[in-house]
Symmetry: C2
């Protein structure tokens, strides 16, 4: 009798746990955050902090508008200290790390945080990170990648940055399964969410195979691309915002001023260049963007909220 | 008979050689260069190339005036590649290396060319070079200094820079005898002249004890200092040029534009800051400076000429 009673209890408990788990799994990220399933949630995220003074200054200015509310920092870059001082003075700011394994400009370069002879597979013949994400991914030893991205996180923390999330400069860490496994392992060790969108699963089928049910990932990432003419910048973004689907979307933007430093850094490279970044700054700090958010019932959220979902 | 004849010859040869040697030793650097003893020879030298785009752009512009005719490059700094491209395209330019063991700005930092774990004595707790030359010199292991400055020379050469001379950022390598010995050993190995002035012997008595008769050093170095009010800039330099003594003088200047990048880099530090460097640029590219050179019969020379004296 007692045995059969215990067995019945055990079955009931198992059914209950399984039901909770399946509910948990089928809940959208919006719901897990406490919003209705049809809420339109948006992170407006500026990449490349620390790269240049112009990037830091424009992004800090955009934060003040309240319309850009998240960004990530390139630890190996020369202006890290300036943005670390901002992070220490503004601990509420939603700042992540833009883990960096490429050095893509030709006039102005950077290299690893690790001792260079410990991460040789990441470096070009001149001792800098490689120019492109495909070259970087093809040559990178995943063990050295793990050492380097761990060192970047440690240096950021040592400078008083408490990152709320991780992403990958130029997407190098999404280029193949081995690199993404390293990225996710380091993120889990640090209990930090990673920029991953469900819409990427179709083009990178290793993503769902590595992700676990309780990893936090968003619904989609939007970004502009070189096919958009400069005159169509505001229209591209306006259309995207008007058509925004429910769920969590991250708009990834690149802010800087179109000044001498940025022109020098991005010389001969209009894509993601100085004028490009000024156009992003102008749109995302505009009243037009503020009105679009209101008119389309879009709520801004940050990676800090998403990070709380990580157990 | 034959023996005494040989002995006589030997004595005559010795006397002749000794006379040539003493003439050689007592010749001034100006005379060794083929100029009269009373010639006023001047190198107008801009420091800190590679530090920032603003520094590179202003120095290249000043070179075009013909009035600034020499400069040196900081290999560990982010804008090295931009100035290396200039050096490759302008092989006649008088470009040396400004060997760097300090990272003196707080918003914007740099570290070693060597793997960081091989030169730990050169680094602060954040992994960058130290802020001041005195701190750097007090902590530096001379063996690690030798590794690092050799690596800086090798990286410059690998990028196609053929340095004409060496000097030391913030004078770190002149701070004590051990560091200067390393500096001079590396310079001799590379057959490059080093910025040393006879007028420094009084305040650093280890200098003459290490220098050899055939080392090339100049008569004096002039530079402005923070005691000069911004409004007195042109007067300070004009007076110095009018009073210029015969021999080889190097005026050491710091060029950049007073723009957002330089203001960001030198924030809260007016000495050698953005406006300082703009003042230097304005004076040394001016017609006033050109006239002063003419009126005072001053001839511009470069380190390239001095380097030819090294056997």
């Amino acid at each position: 009798m007692r045995r059969s009673l215990l067995a019945t209890f055990a079955v009931l408990i198992l059914l209950f746990v399984s039901d909770v788990r399946s509910q948990e799994v089928t809940k959208t990220v919006a719901e897990r955050l406490g919003y209705p399933r049809d809420a339109k949630l948006l992170i407006v995220h500026a990449d490349d902090l620390g790269m240049a003074h112009s990037v830091n200054a424009a992004t800090i200015k955009a934060f003040e508008s309240g319309l850009v509310n998240s960004a990530s920092i390139m630890v190996p870059c020369p202006w890290l200290s300036e943005i670390a001082a901002y992070a220490r003075a503004n601990p509420q700011a939603d700042l992540g790390l833009h883990l960096t394994l490429t050095s893509e400009w030709t006039s102005f370069r950077w290299g690893p945080v690790m001792p260079s002879d410990k991460v040789k597979s990441l470096l070009d013949k001149d001792g800098f990170f490689r120019l492109t994400e495909s070259e970087a991914a093809a040559q990178a030893d995943p063990k050295e990648v793990e050492l380097e991205i761990t060192a970047q996180i440690e240096r950021a923390k040592a400078l008083g940055i408490q990152p709320t999330h991780l992403d990958s400069h130029m997407g190098t860490l999404y280029q193949n399964k081995a690199l993404f496994e390293v990225f996710l392992r380091v993120a889990r060790i640090n209990k930090l969410p990673v920029r991953v969108a469900k819409t990427w699963f179709a083009r990178a089928d290793f993503l769902p195979s590595i992700l676990k049910a309780d990893d936090v990932y968003i619904d989609r990432v939007l970004d502009i691309n070189p096919s958009v003419a400069p005159g169509d910048w505001a229209k591209f973004y306006s259309d995207a915002i008007k058509k925004l689907e429910p769920g969590v979307t991250e708009i990834v933007i690149h802010l800087a001023y179109d000044d001498a430093e940025m022109r020098g850094a991005t010389v001969n490279h209009p894509d993601w260049g100085a004028a490009w970044r000024q156009r992003d700054f102008d749109f995302f700090t505009s009243d037009e963007f503020r009105k679009l958010l209101q008119e389309n019932q879009i709520k801004l959220i940050t990676w800090r909220e998403l990070a709380k979902l990580i157990k």
